[in-house]
């Protein structure tokens, strides 16, 4: 990367389709395209099986009628709409829940080692927010599992099948920015090989952002260190909107201190939360579903217990997840990974002692707005305009099936259903002549701006310090409970942090596996996501799903039964209609959300 980079001193590699991100959604998309004969590549900053999908534990929720032969995808749809606090798009949720069984059976045929019932069918366990008969038939068991390592099994299975189909990977390549031409079309990305430092314009007729979440905007998160919202950072910098960015899921059970995830499957298998008095407190907050209420409900209840002085430990700053009553045999068979994690990170063997847990940032419900084909769009005067060449899938996208609160097990389903849908659509579109116009020299050079500036920095702010500052602001002002006056402070603090992010000092200018450069670029992506989160949170004046405001404690359907659309150019929030028009049935109207 010696000297100022421009179109003439970097390579151009051409593709029909480019997928940025090698996690579950990206690899499901690429699998579809690898079979199509189109020239495609997956650009992943890590070897694909290191992607964060690998950490998913409990399972993939889907009405495959195994645990219950009478199960119905419409019940799953009802649960998902209710879980979303009614701002999930019902056409997208309908598509996910009805296409789901096909997608899960496909994974099984690919070799995913699902756990089994005695009759040989896929094992399903109860998860939070699940019901039979549209909420009237009690708890359902709808989450298909491979012990408590479902994400690992799914990610490896997808990688294996990509190998089988001869998919093309650019592993340990980092995508820096989108290349946008004068027609506002996306023509590919600027990226570099982390191993060699080689920079290239990866030109493509379709670019899919499958870059996952950005939990690292918070100081405490279940997310991998690589979850820095790179795709969303790129699309926000390119001036495209992000939807529902105030909606961040705090998982009830992150290991206290370490942040590692403890699956909801623990409570599905019969575990429950207790406070310092040994009380099973969820019985008070959610008399019916108890510990299997929506994640937002459980997380808030835990924080209230702690705030009211019933937290555990010397600092009364966490609660306990009790599992010992399940017995060693069940724990080893159904939750072996949790036993391992708990011993490593909490120093506790759940066979004998409860695990200290605390709500921890887990999932980004918001993201790049897309339709069910993964096509990204911007919005003007309440009209959605597709962005030619740009697609997004998985956690990076907001399609929106999760609305204001995602149900456990729905993210793995989202990955495979919409990864597949995007692949099918792109294949069809490109084969019927779809594509984009060329980008010119200036377009390419503006996408190189950030990299050049960083490479040419001789002084400035330290990456590690600025990152910590950003994470603390987000943790303190945009956590489980939010309040306007505090969020104002947070937004102000981010203005200063943006200035620092624009002036980072890159100490290491070398080309070979330069992680200093990668971390600096990641921090700038975190900032974009953090700012979108902060401003969206401040402006949604109500409490809904994961967005809980002390100063606006009620849900306000009159004004806010809508998506929020963050505009990064004016740093402003617009409203966008929620879809209430599923294709095959009546929409579920908003109701009071009780568990």
């Amino acid at each position: 990367m010696v000297g100022h980079l421009n179109k003439d001193n970097i390579h151009t590699l051409e593709f029909d389709a480019l997928i940025v991100g090698g996690g579950g959604s990206g690899m499901r998309t690429s699998l579809e395209l690898a079979k199509s004969g189109l020239k495609t590549a997956v650009v992943s900053k890590v070897f694909p099986t290191r992607s964060h999908t690998v950490s998913a534990q409990g399972g993939i929720t889907c009405a495959i009628q195994s645990a219950d032969p009478h199960d119905d995808w419409r019940w799953h749809m009802f649960d998902t709409v209710k879980g979303s606090d009614y701002i999930g798009d019902q056409d997208a949720i309908e598509y996910m829940c009805s296409e789901g069984p096909k997608a899960v059976f496909e994974l099984e045929h690919m070799g995913l080692p699902f756990s089994r019932f005695e009759n040989g069918r896929i094992y399903q366990r109860p998860f939070g927010g699940q019901s039979k008969d549209f909420g009237n038939g009690g708890q359902a068991s709808r989450t298909c599992a491979a012990a408590d390592r479902t994400g690992h099994a799914l990610l490896h299975t997808l990688y294996q099948n990509n190998v089988k189909e001869g998919a093309n990977f650019l592993n340990e390549w980092f995508a820096v920015d989108l290349v946008k031409n004068k027609f506002n079309e996306i023509t590919g990305v600027i990226a570099f090989s982390i191993e060699s430092g080689e920079v290239a314009y990866l030109k493509s007729r379709a670019t899919v952002l499958a870059t996952g979440g950005a939990g690292r905007i918070y100081a405490s998160t279940t997310n991998a260190l690589i979850n820095t919202g790179d795709g969303l950072g790129m699309s926000l910098r390119a001036g495209f909107p992000a939807q529902d960015m105030e909606m961040w899921q705090f998982h009830p059970t992150g290991i206290h201190g370490a942040g590692s995830l403890v699956t909801e499957g623990c409570r599905g298998e019969g575990g429950y939360l207790i406070n310092a008095d040994g009380e099973r407190f969820m019985e008070r907050y959610a008399p019916n579903a108890k510990d299997l209420a929506g994640r937002d409900v459980v997380a808030r209840s835990m924080v209230l217990e702690i705030l009211e002085g019933r937290g555990c430990g010397p600092n009364k700053d966490h609660v306990l997840l009790k599992l010992d009553h399940l017995g060693e045999e069940i724990l080893n068979a159904k939750l072996p990974g949790i036993c391992e994690l708990s011993k490593t990170f909490a120093g506790v063997d759940p066979v004998y002692k409860p695990i200290p847990v605390v709500p921890t940032c887990h999932y980004m419900m918001g993201g790049t707005p897309t339709n069910i084909h993964g096509q990204a769009f911007s919005s003007e005067n309440e009209v959605d305009n597709e962005i030619p060449g740009l697609f997004s899938v998985g956690e990076a996208a907001c399609v929106s099936v999760h609305g204001a609160n995602r149900l456990g097990g729905n993210s793995l389903l989202d990955l495979v259903v919409f990864g597949r849908a995007a692949g099918l659509h792109i294949n069809e579109d490109l084969k019927s002549g779809g594509g984009v116009e060329e980008a010119n020299i200036d377009d390419i050079e503006s996408a190189l701006y950030r990299l050049n500036k960083l490479n040419e920095s001789n002084s400035g702010f330290e990456v590690a310090e600025v990152k910590r500052e950003l994470q603390e602001v987000m943790q303190n002002y945009f956590g489980v409970f939010r309040r306007g006056e505090f969020m104002e402070k947070g937004v102000q603090a981010l203005v200063e942090i943006r200035d620092k992010c624009d002036n980072l000092h890159l100490h290491d200018k070398s080309d070979s596996f330069n992680t200093n450069r990668v971390e600096a670029l990641e921090l700038q992506n975190l900032l974009e996501v953090a700012e979108a989160t902060a401003i969206s949170s401040l402006k949604r004046n109500e409490s809904r799903g994961a967005h809980a405001r002390d100063d606006f404690p009620e849900r306000d359907d009159e004004n806010w039964l809508c998506h929020s659309l963050y505009d990064p150019i004016n740093k402003d929030l617009k409203k966008r209609q929620v879809n209430f028009e599923p294709k095959t049935m009546e929409a579920f109207p908003p109701k009071v959300r009780a568990y």
Partner: protein, 248 residues
């Protein structure tokens, strides 16, 4: 204060690798080796290593920690420190890209060679393929591999023949598909391993078992493969013998 020695090599500036010494103030609690590395990287951002999940499931941060391969993110400093010293080196036996980062091309090539995907000659049903819980249990201890390469890079046979000996990690996966009742290509899989190198270069040194951060046992899987190969050979020999008898 502990002494941490880290293997450093940047191909652009260093003719030879060297060990760099850092003094590190341990916090008042035990920490994982990865957390220690992250702290050191804050003061020296040029230290390079891979990391992702930081909880032992992604397999990025395999390295040699005081002489034994392990994952930095789930290895507590207290468990490995010797005489107040900690030495961190890249996984042995693979080319070093930089510092603690190794080139894993050969390791992945062996993985691809065993065809790490389910192959079935029966058309898939409309639902899932059925598998009894006891048949599914046969995959436990096999499918959990995270491809961290701690085992293969601790294996002297892999050091000698990384291109011809498949190595413990990929052999564990070869057996994962052989053991899967849904896979119908067992014979073909065994056949592809029957040369003198692919599996027979394992001499039961067992380093793979002692370093696996997930507690898996590649040696046992290799033993299963060897005994299946032998049974096949015996079977073949019997067929040849009986054929020969018929003809004479």
């Amino acid at each position: 204060m502990i002494e941490v020695n880290i293997y450093r090599f940047n191909p652009e500036t260093d003719k030879f690798p060297y060990m760099q010494k850092f003094n590190f103030e341990m916090p008042d609690r035990d920490i994982m080796v990865l957390e220690l590395l992250n702290s050191l990287k804050e003061s020296d951002p040029t230290i390079s290593y891979r990391r992702s999940c930081r909880e032992g499931v992604c397999g990025s941060d395999g390295m040699s920690i005081n002489g034994k391969n392990g994952l930095a993110c789930i290895t507590p400093v207290s468990e490995v420190i010797k005489g107040n010293k900690l030495e961190l080196r890249p996984l042995p036996g693979l080319p070093v890209v930089r510092d603690l980062v190794v080139d894993m091309t050969e390791f992945y090539a062996q993985y691809e060679k065993i065809k790490p995907f389910l192959q079935s000659d029966t058309p898939p049903p409309n639902q899932e393929r059925l598998q009894s819980p006891s048949d599914r249990d046969k995959l436990d201890g096999l499918y959990e591999c995270i491809l961290c390469a701690c085992c293969s890079t601790s294996c002297p046979s892999f050091w000698w023949n990384p291109d011809k000996f498949v190595g413990p990690a990929a052999l564990l996966q070869a057996y994962r598909f052989i053991a899967d009742t849904r896979d119908t290509r067992t014979e073909e899989r065994l056949e592809s391993l029957s040369d003198p190198f692919s599996v027979y270069r394992c001499h039961g040194i067992m380093n793979c078992v002692s370093v696996c951060p997930k507690g898996l046992n590649p040696n046992k899987a290799i033993g299963e493969i060897k005994s299946m190969l032998l049974t096949n050979k015996r079977h073949e020999a019997e067929i040849i013998a009986s054929d020969g008898g018929g003809r004479s």
